[in-house]
């Protein structure tokens, strides 16, 4: 093998670092949207590498639904501390109160949709001109057509018609006042790429990504953890199962998968052999309509 050859993970990493540096140079007030999941943990790792030996030159912003896994919050605080980054937390609960929004009801009350309000308020509060997100194009088909630099209007809306052509490695981040750019440095990574990179770089993850015992109920074939946010009905059978999480979102809308995979190698093997997509397996909210993501994006969602 040629000694000046980069494997595909090195190539993806280099592309993402290049994007991070373009953000730092082109925007006055960027922010990194941090959810606590593996994709945003990977983003932080890449940002660190992009600006080393300096620190990450923008804050991490957590739009907190209040429905977090405690393990993910602990991990977040530890990571922020270790990286020496600034953390900004804005709570969906506060937005609900201040704007007298209607709290979602039902057994799995997802605040996922309401995050958009908090996000847009936060953008305005801090005058962020760019928000870096961990979306990947392999996640679903609206993402597949979004640019790496995605311009949003003052309502945060994505307009698929007005996307700028994105050629070579040249990114045009120029915007008018009030507009905002969402930048997705890991657009070209797949779920498996992320896992392989986590192994390759020995990136630390919250413990819930690995098999552990948990009290769950079954809902339309998916396992949902019992927590202060999700209570079993009388008709539910509460089971203790060995599970892990494939994505980490809200406790109310993220399903667990049954698994014995306790190590990265085992998790990766399971993901390679699984025949269901990440969103399909673990997101309770995405099944509502096929165009759910497209709609949310157009309304200012990540």
């Amino acid at each position: 093998m040629n000694q000046h050859h980069l494997n595909y993970l090195d190539q993806l990493e280099s592309e993402s670092i290049h994007i991070f540096r373009e953000v730092a140079a082109q925007f006055e007030k960027p922010a990194l949207l941090f959810s606590g999941g593996k994709d945003s943990i990977t983003l932080v790792h890449l940002a660190r590498k992009a600006f080393a030996p300096g620190k990450i030159p923008f804050p991490l912003v957590h739009i907190d639904t209040g429905h977090n896994f405690p393990e993910a919050l602990e991990f977040r605080d530890r990571l922020v501390n270790e990286v020496g980054a600034t953390l900004i937390v804005r709570k969906v609960e506060d937005t609900i109160r201040q704007r007298s929004l209607t709290e979602p009801k039902g057994k799995f009350p997802s605040r996922n949709w309401l995050q958009t309000y908090t996000l847009l308020d936060t953008i305005e509060e801090f005058r962020f001109d760019c928000c870096i997100g961990g979306a990947r194009r392999d996640e679903e088909k609206a993402r597949a057509k979004e640019r790496i630099f995605s311009v949003r209007d003052e309502f945060g809306q994505w307009n698929p018609k007005l996307q700028r052509p994105e050629l070579w490695n040249i990114y045009n981040g120029r915007i008018h006042k009030g507009e905002n750019v969402r930048v997705f440095p890991i657009s070209n990574w797949t779920e498996l790429d992320i896992w392989n990179y986590i192994r390759y770089e020995k990136i630390d993850l919250p413990s819930i990504y690995f098999a552990h015992d948990r009290k769950v109920i079954e809902h339309e074939g998916q396992l949902v953890a019992i927590s202060e946010f999700v209570q079993p009905a009388d008709s539910d059978t509460v089971l203790t199962k060995k599970v892990r999480y494939r994505t980490v979102g809200d406790m109310t809308c993220t399903a667990a998968v049954e698994s014995n995979a306790a190590t990265l190698d085992e998790v990766i093997n399971e993901i390679i052999s699984t025949r269901i997509s990440e969103r399909g397996e673990t997101r309770i909210d995405d099944k509502v309509t096929e165009a759910a993501m497209e709609d949310r994006k157009k309304n200012g969602y990540f």
């Binding site: 990493e13 080393a52 030996p53 300096g54 698929p160 120029r174 025949r275 997509s277």
Partner: protein, 414 residues
């Protein structure tokens, strides 16, 4: 395992969507829930097979508004390679879509309908491939099932295409007879096309050599951002961060900073804060210089003895990407990697017919999808190479300062 980016070119009727669907499906990169969604929306179920073309179906907004977004990206991988497909829709605005999708591609699959042979579209796709210097070309002769897997039909198409390739100077062309609908020669070799001894399409995509696509000879580096931690222990640290465009850099290299023209030496090369022996394309690296020079974003660091061109007057091919036409005398921003300069388009000499390569006179303003030869004058000099020699350092975009849109793709000539 490495990475191959490719684009598929063909009109809707050539079976492009079916081909992409087939590649994803047969390489087991479609998952059950995606397949279920597919089965639900499959209209044509006569033979019990799902319509693979629906996998690349558009968004609701596209259907409702009758638009097509220029490029969608698809991903799949095999144990040998990760693949990124730029899927550019056909028909209207094709030149713009294809240039956008092809700008990063190592390879292009040009689909030809076996019943139609080489048609005007084939010629157009090939011309764009030659303009953009896509290194590898696969001519996939599709729908072989509809011509009874005839070797004669295939051979005649190959003879016709060789003529096109010769005219355009396309060197690396591979011909594969396929049937995307039935999966012949896509992932597995066809049982029907017994006279063909070459590789199936996926086998070829896995094996095509990519190392020589990266130029390791002409060292080019442009500063994206200056890293200055200004902490106590890194008080004097000043690192120039950027992606190596081409070539190799190491400590001790005698370099020249352009366009300033100052000579100095490399003090260290780093990846992610760690000093390394050397850095090479396409790594994202940090370079430290021996002397304290005023360098900023967009400045180039190159090696003495192998210099790029420096000029504020450029001969270019422009592909116009915007609905609003090019107005001569208007000022634009030209972005060349990370360097932005004010620019004016002057002397639009001729229009290039992308179906015939003929030069035609330009009447009125340059419009969407037109490719023209022009001169660009920039407010400060650009450090570049001809696109033909080093595409990564010979490409740029034009931005309309009032709308902030990306309005043109620029291929700089040496």
């Amino acid at each position: 395992m490495d990475l191959l980016r490719f684009i598929t070119a063909g009109s809707v009727d050539d079976g492009k969507s079916t081909l992409i669907g087939r590649l994803l499906y047969d390489s087991k990169n479609i998952l059950i829930d995606q397949l279920e969604a597919l089965e639900k929306s499959t209209k044509n179920k006569e033979n019990g097979e799902v319509d693979l073309a629906l996998l690349t179906d558009g968004l609701r907004a596209e259907r409702e508004q009758g638009i097509t977004i220029d490029v969608a990206y698809r991903y799949f991988s095999t144990p040998k390679r990760k693949f990124i497909i730029a899927d550019a829709p056909g028909h209207v605005q094709y030149t713009r879509n294809m240039i956008t999708g092809a700008s990063n591609a190592n390879l292009i699959i040009i689909l030809i309908d076996a019943r139609q042979g080489v048609v005007e579209q084939t010629r157009r796709h090939s011309i764009i491939a030659s303009l953009l210097k896509i290194p590898h070309i696969v001519v996939a002769v599709n729908k072989m099932d509809l011509v009874e897997y005839s070797q004669d039909v295939f051979n005649n198409i190959v003879i016709d295409y060789r003529e096109v390739a010769k005219q355009l100077g396309l060197a690396d062309v591979t011909y594969i007879p396929i049937s995307a609908l039935d999966g012949d020669n896509i992932v597995d070799r066809s049982k029907h096309i017994t006279w063909y001894n070459g590789k199936a399409l996926l086998e070829f995509l896995e094996d095509v050599k990519l190392d020589s696509d990266i130029n390791l000879t002409d060292a080019r580096f442009q500063v994206q951002v200056v890293i200055r931690p200004q902490t106590e222990d890194l008080h004097d640290y000043r690192g120039y961060a950027g992606k190596i465009i081409s070539g190799i850099y190491k400590k001790g290299d005698k370099v020249k900073v352009l366009p300033q023209g100052i000579e100095t030496t490399i003090a260290s090369v780093e990846i992610a804060g760690m000093e390394v022996e050397e850095v090479f394309a396409p790594q994202s690296a940090v370079i430290q210089l021996a002397d304290d020079i005023d360098i900023g974003r967009g400045d180039s660091i190159v090696k003495i003895g192998n210099l790029p061109l420096v000029s504020n007057e450029l001969e270019v091919l422009l592909c116009w990407l915007d609905d609003k036409p090019l107005i001569s005398g208007n000022k634009y921003l030209l972005q060349h990697n990370s360097r932005q300069v004010r620019a004016m388009v002057r002397n639009v000499e001729y229009k290039l017919d992308v179906n015939s390569l003929q030069q035609q006179p330009v009447e009125g303003n340059v419009k969407l999808n037109e490719v023209v030869k022009a001169t660009i004058k920039t407010a400060s000099p650009l450090v570049y190479d001809g696109y033909e020699k080093l595409s990564e350092n010979g490409s740029a975009i034009l931005i309309d300062e009032t709308s902030n849109s990306t309005v043109a793709a620029v291929l700089i000539r040496s």
